[in-house]
Amino acid sequence: MPDELAPKGMKPQAKDPTPQPLKRGPWHTITEPQLFFPAALIATLILLWLVTLNLIEADQLKAQEHASNSTTELSQTYEAQVVRAIREIDQSLNVVKRAYELGGDKPMLTLVDDWGLLLPDFLFVTSVSDAQGKIINSTRAFKNKTIADKEIFRGQLNSDQLLSGRPWQDPYTKEWKLSFSRRINTAEGNFAGIAMTSVDASYFVSGYEIRQLGQLGVLALLGSDGIFRVRRTGEAVFSGESVDYAQLLPDIDEFEDDPAATLMTNSWDGIKRYTMATKLYEFPLAVVLGLSQEEQLQQHLQLKRLYLQRSAVASVSIMAITFILWRLSWQLQLSRRRAMEEQVAHAQQVEHLAYHDGLTGLPNRSFFSQLVNHGIAEAKRYDRRFALLFLDLDRFKIINDTLGHDAGDDLLKEVARRLTECLRETDTVARLGGDEFVVLLPEMNDEKQLNEVGEKILHAVGKPFHLAGQELRVTVSIGISAYPMDGEDEQTLLKNADIAMYHAKQRGKNNFCFYSEELSANSLERLALESSLRLALDRNEFLLHYQEKHDLRSGEITGAEALLRWQHPDLGLVQPLQFLPLAEESGLIISIGKWVIESACKQVISWQEQGLPPRRISVNLTFRQFTDTHLLEDLARILQTTGVDPSQIELEITESLLLSNFQNALETLGKIKDLGLRIAIDNFGTSYTSLSTLDKFKFDTLKIDGSVIRDIANEPADQQLTEAIISVGRTMAETIVAEGVETQTQAEFLLASSCDEVQGFYYDKPGPIKPG
């Protein structure tokens, strides 16, 4: 199993079980939703705005170019119109001039008018003056007025060309007028007067089209003197203002082919216009045309505003969508993570179940094995030592069998709790199964420390338990092995700790024992014994010896006690003391016991068949046998198969058997008796049985222990005790048998004390069956 998947509750020796996040490259990081969405959003927004601003800029350039071009085109048209209009005026004046030069003093003006060669008189006022500046003829009633002081008059004194004066205001109509003049010569070429015409200044800007020039455009006629002859913006017409002529018409290269409009703030009204000013070739005048930047770019500005609005709306939408996507993706990720966490939690739970004992929650054998191996690796690397404790509860089976499994489980849980409590955090307690616990003490290398731990555990476990409404005490036997002295691998360490534990049990339980080589040797013997004990039944190596029982009065043989012997092929005859505890502990006693009872039954029948008087055989029942749940059915089956008379078989139990659970024991006894078997109480007088409890059951036989009567020859107290026991026994059993009778004195005393039967070396040594 990989270390990363170590179960929960692992001790610090093991590695951290949480999986490390995988290291990822920068590209992976970008695809993480937390980063991807903002990054995509920013990229999209940047793109969107770049495109928008580009479009706006392109449109602006287009609008500017268009405005500039329009200005140039309109300006050229206007120039042509002005030139034509002035030429018309000049032409008309020339006709008048010629008419007067040819016609002398005659009023030629009317004639010219009749010819239709005058300018329309409702716009133009045409007049003629004499050499003194007096009006001599006019399309209006201006006769006898003098214009001698006027610019257009005096200007003609020394020249012969079209003159135009500054604008002047009609004193009656307040309208601004412009006047033009031509010199009239005498036949000799002397100055004879002038022909002049006046027109509303607004005439020259009447071509102002709001459709083309807007409300803020400008159309103007400018004199080379820097004075506006007329200027129009929208419907408003002005005349007479001065401007910086040089600034408006810089002395640029005259051969430049494509004069272009300039964007400038016009000095006369502060409006920024694409402005074009052009000098007229023939006249000292210039035309000015301007298109307001604001108006010309209005469409562009509207479009710009539209673009910006749309981009803003698009940005907000994109942000909203991105946010929603981000949210969704985030939720997806969350739920994925949650699912993964659940999976991990589940896996951890499974791990926990796989590596922990379900009952106590302690690490189980396989986990413990891992920990030990890990501990070994660590200890090896850092040259350290550690100890392993093998614990086995004493008398656990008794508790389990008598109080029930639930109580047994409670006991184990409580023991687990106490062990965990009394040990340090760094120590590990594990349950190997049954009532076996192991403790791993890392960095524990001092025998003194280990002693302390052992004592601590003994003390902790030794405190009373409250189970199934009873208070009881449990002890524990502990075996200790240490790395590396007692083994360098898990198996050896565990085995040796087990051996030491066994030794502790042999030394009387409720203690601890360190492993040593000698223990191992003993243990090997024991292991060998155990394995051959298992084979003994199959190989038919067991046999029964019998010790007769005699009637004290008649001296006749009344029966015999069956005694188990083991004829080992190598060791010879093995004494019961040498193998019975092992058989009892390992449970082999159940099969062996059945064999014993069956053999005894067959022997009784054999005796009957030989025609001998009925002899009863008594068989010992051990604790394990007595508490075996199959005891009664086994007995019934044996009785049936052998067909023996049950009253010829007597089962001997010791008093101590009754102590652990008196009620159950009584029940069992009753059932045995129901089968027709006899029951004897063995080793009577050796333990402190409460006599009052014994009278609750009527035994068939009561056997006084040999130790009671051993010294009756010398000890009067023992005599009294024996008598007392016999008299008490009478109330409990039919027949009183004394065991271990070795001398005649003893036999005589027993007879006197009205004991019924005796058994012992004085009469008979146990041995193989003797014929008749």
Binding site: A85, L119, F122, L123, Y203, S206, G207
Partner: protein, 144 residues
């Protein structure tokens, strides 16, 4: 000229006309020579001819407008009736027409009788006079 100004002027002009009509009982009529084939024109057609926008009658024959002189009240009344323009507007119109080279104003003759005289010169002529001045030499055009 914007719409608001136009309405204002229209209202002023209407009041002026009413005064003129009420006091002088003058009644302008559009006339052509008695032998002219034209007998009816729409107000718009008359306006076009007198504003220099059209040089022909609907039947395709030449139309030559004859104006009364600028000083007559009848002229202003006539222009207003057919085109809705004030004298200043009419002047501005012709100013623009002349300046941009698109046309010349109609020949001007002094009075109703001068108009009648002028009409007699050519079948193409068209003029306007006071109803009271109508005689056999001219034909009143029905204005639709």
């Amino acid at each position: 000229m914007n719409y608001k100004n136009y309405k204002k002027l229209t209202r002023l002009a209407l009041i002026a006309i009413c005064l003129v009509v009420a006091t002088a009982h003058s009644d302008v009529v559009v006339v052509v020579p008695a032998d002219s084939p034209v007998s009816a024109l729409s107000k718009k057609q008359v306006a076009k001819i007198f504003l220099g926008k059209s040089r022909r009658f609907p039947d395709g024959s030449r139309a030559v407008p004859v104006n009364q002189s600028e000083s007559t009240a009848l002229r202003n009344e006539f222009y207003f009736l057919v085109s809705g323009k004030s004298p200043a507007q009419v002047k501005a119109h012709w100013s623009k027409m002349i300046f941009t080279g698109r046309g010349q104003p109609p020949k001007e003759v002094g009075t109703d009788s001068a108009v009648k005289q002028q009409l007699a010169v050519s079948k193409s002529n068209i003029g306007y006079i006071d109803r009271g001045a109508v005689d056999a030499s001219v034909k009143i055009l029905a204005i639709q």
